[in-house]
């Protein structure tokens, strides 16, 4: 009876507070959150934070080439004498663009297609859509992305497109399986009986109930998408020089491997750090959202 006096707004705020409490209880999730925020701050304020912002473009200083990690160059310098730390800081921009861009393209597409397929499951449209996702999922994502970006011009946008092509079916699958069960719920049937339009049922009745898993999958995916992007840039199919990209930096550094190890190792560790933080954050979000459903 008391619940009726609480307004919807307050209840929602209370729910948010509870989720945050649950999230903040997990050390791992907090580490992830801090790491992700740090990466975002580095990317946005790169020109202010990087010790040598001019080194992020075509810059040559052969006198200071291949300097091992020292006070002047915290993570050493590369064969052109550019500061590796500065280049890593600028390269976080490309990594984040990759993650955000791909999800921005993949989620709406995959979700809408999944809604349509799920709503029409059992009919020809549903079957055809799901068989098409099978086909896309039959090729390993990295390989499909490699092939697509190989035939296109190598740049960041095409790399994003290549990863998107191999990634949307996962969202279609997820939404499809949820829609199949939600469309038999009473509230959906009630909406159908009162003559609601198809789009109203799909987007206003079904979609909101699919959101928590979609959100969870997005936070869990972003790390993997960044990793795929780094793999593409490793083979030269991402951001083109002189713009720094983490994968390209590892590939270039690998040529100088045992002696000048810092050229390859630090960008590699940077990839590890960024992906790890996003994964930890994703796990935290998943735990928060999944306990809420119970």
């Amino acid at each position: 009876m008391e619940a009726s006096t609480v307004s919807l707004k307050e209840a929602r705020r209370e729910g948010m507070r509870r989720s945050w409490y649950r999230f903040s209880r997990s050390n791992v999730a907090i580490v992830g959150l801090v790491g992700v925020l740090l990466t975002i701050v580095l990317a946005i304020f790169a020109p202010l934070i990087a010790p040598y912002p001019q080194h992020a473009s075509a810059f040559v200083d052969y006198e200071n080439a291949m300097v091992p990690p020292s006070r002047a160059y915290l993570l050493g310098s590369d064969p052109s004498g550019r500061d590796i730390l500065s280049r890593i800081i600028f390269a976080t921009r490309g990594a984040l663009k990759m993650g955000i861009g791909v999800l921005a393209a993949v989620v709406p597409l995959g979700v809408v297609v999944g809604l349509i397929a799920g709503y029409h499951s059992g009919s020809a449209i549903g079957v055809i859509i799901m068989r098409i996702t099978d086909i896309f999922l039959a090729v390993p994502p990295l390989l499909l992305a490699l092939a697509v970006s190989a035939v296109l011009k190598p740049n960041l946008f095409n790399a994003m497109m290549a990863v998107s092509i191999s990634w949307w079916p996962w969202y279609t699958r997820l939404v499809y399986s949820m829609v199949c069960s939600i469309k038999n719920e009473f509230y959906t049937q009630a909406a159908e009986l009162t003559g609601a339009s198809k789009s109203h049922i799909m987007f206003r009745e079904i979609l909101p109930n699919c959101l928590p898993p979609i959100l969870t999958k997005m936070t869990l995916d972003i790390g993997f998408v960044i990793l795929l992007g780094a793999s593409l840039s490793f083979v030269g199919l991402g951001e083109q020089p002189p713009t720094p990209a983490l994968g390209t930096m590892v590939a270039d550094g690998a040529k100088y491997m045992p002696q000048q190890w810092w050229v390859a190792v630090f960008p590699g560790l940077a990839i590890m750090f960024i992906v790890l933080c996003f994964n930890l954050l994703g796990d935290g979000v998943r735990d928060t959202l999944s306990t809420e459903e119970v």
């Binding site: 390993p140 994502p141 994968g247 590892v250 590939a251 990839i271 994964n279």
Partner: protein
């Protein structure tokens, strides 16, 4: 019982054929996404127009797309993958040279993933909440977050420079005689022809790249095995068996491990096929003469026939692996064989 098995096999085969046809359309589509004219690109800008026109005719590039697809598919079905536009050799010959090396690498990596993933997962579940469980957890987080080529660099640095116990690059050490070609996989050829020195040397060269390649899968399958082991360990049936005096070892292997492997097997299959993509990157670091160098030059030169062949073969592998997995799952899960699906 036998009948459901064979009908399941038939259904899966039909589905796989449909998927393969779809994959072939997808690959054909990708290969025609290329901006620019593949014939012109293969011959270079200085070739006269009539020669380009000839090649275009030869490659059927002048016909409408569905006809091109039909002709292309017929050729593929005959096992004719065409001629590489760059090396000017038959793609089949190129693949015969490069594929076994990569296949060997993936097989060793798959073995490492299967053994490592299951063992780590089982022991993490058996000794959960101990230091070993914590160690596995950290390893799992790092394994999933790190691209295989970064592992490759880290392992290379540690195990062949800082503490040199394993060879760094290539496939065989200098001075080792390559065994006669039987399968193209040197470890296997060495054993078959009695050249154990070569087999052993090649195996040593494979360890670092294979571990780098397997790290992601080991991490993932260890986590999944642990989770499903713990879930199954808390079943009432397990307590009942324990109360009835069934030895712990029997409970763990027969009643806990066996059903716990079902999700692991499906995930492993995906990982192992995905290794094909990552093998490219790892091979580059270790300077390993596999498909990577071939595939990379093909991609950079927009060598369509070669790209298509590589993806098509891997798509085929995927379908075959999936069928195998369905059978392993059916063996592990009696419900599948009985009802033809869960």
């Amino acid at each position: 019982m036998r009948k459901t098995w064979s009908s399941m096999l038939l259904r899966r085969l039909l589905q796989s054929i449909l998927v393969l046809i779809g994959v072939s359309i997808l690959i054909f589509g990708i290969s025609r996404m290329v901006p620019g004219d593949p014939a012109r690109m293969a011959l270079g800008p200085r070739t006269p127009e009539w020669a380009v026109e000839n090649l275009r005719k030869q490659l059927n590039l002048d016909k409408p797309l569905p006809v091109q697809y039909g002709l292309w598919l017929l050729k593929m079905l005959r096992g004719d993958l065409g001629e590489s536009l760059v090396t000017r050799r038959l793609v089949n010959d190129d693949l015969r040279d490069f594929l076994p090396a990569t296949a060997e690498l993936i097989v060793v990596a798959a073995i490492i993933e299967i053994i490592g993933g299951i063992l780590l997962g089982v022991f993490a579940a058996r000794y959960s909440q101990t230091w070993f469980d914590g160690f596995t957890r950290v390893l799992a987080y790092l394994g999933v977050a790190t691209p295989s080529f970064v592992w490759a660099i880290i392992f290379l640095l540690i195990f062949s420079f800082a503490w040199p116990i394993l060879p760094a690059t290539g496939r065989l050490s200098a001075g080792i005689i390559t065994p006669p070609r039987i399968t193209g996989m040197i470890v296997l050829d060495g054993i078959l022809s009695g050249n154990f020195a070569a087999a052993w040397d090649c195996l040593l060269h494979l360890i670092l790249p294979a571990i780098s390649l397997a790290m992601y899968g080991v991490a993932q399958s260890a986590r999944i095995t642990r989770a499903s082991m713990i879930e199954n360990m808390e079943r009432d049936s397990v307590y009942a068996h324990a109360a009835a005096g069934v030895p712990r070892r029997v409970i763990m292997t027969k009643y806990v491990l066996k059903p716990s492997l079902i999700p692991t097997v499906s995930v492993m299959a995906l990982d192992i096929v995905a290794m094909a993509g990552n093998a490219f990157l790892v091979e580059m670091i270790f300077n390993y003469p596999g498909l990577s160098r071939y595939g990379m030059t093909a991609m950079l030169n927009k060598d369509l026939n070669a790209i298509v062949a590589v993806i098509l073969i891997l798509g085929l592998c995927f379908v075959v692996v999936n069928i195998i997995v369905d059978f392993i799952v059916a063996l592990l899960d009696p419900r599948v064989a009985h009802y033809g699906g869960v």
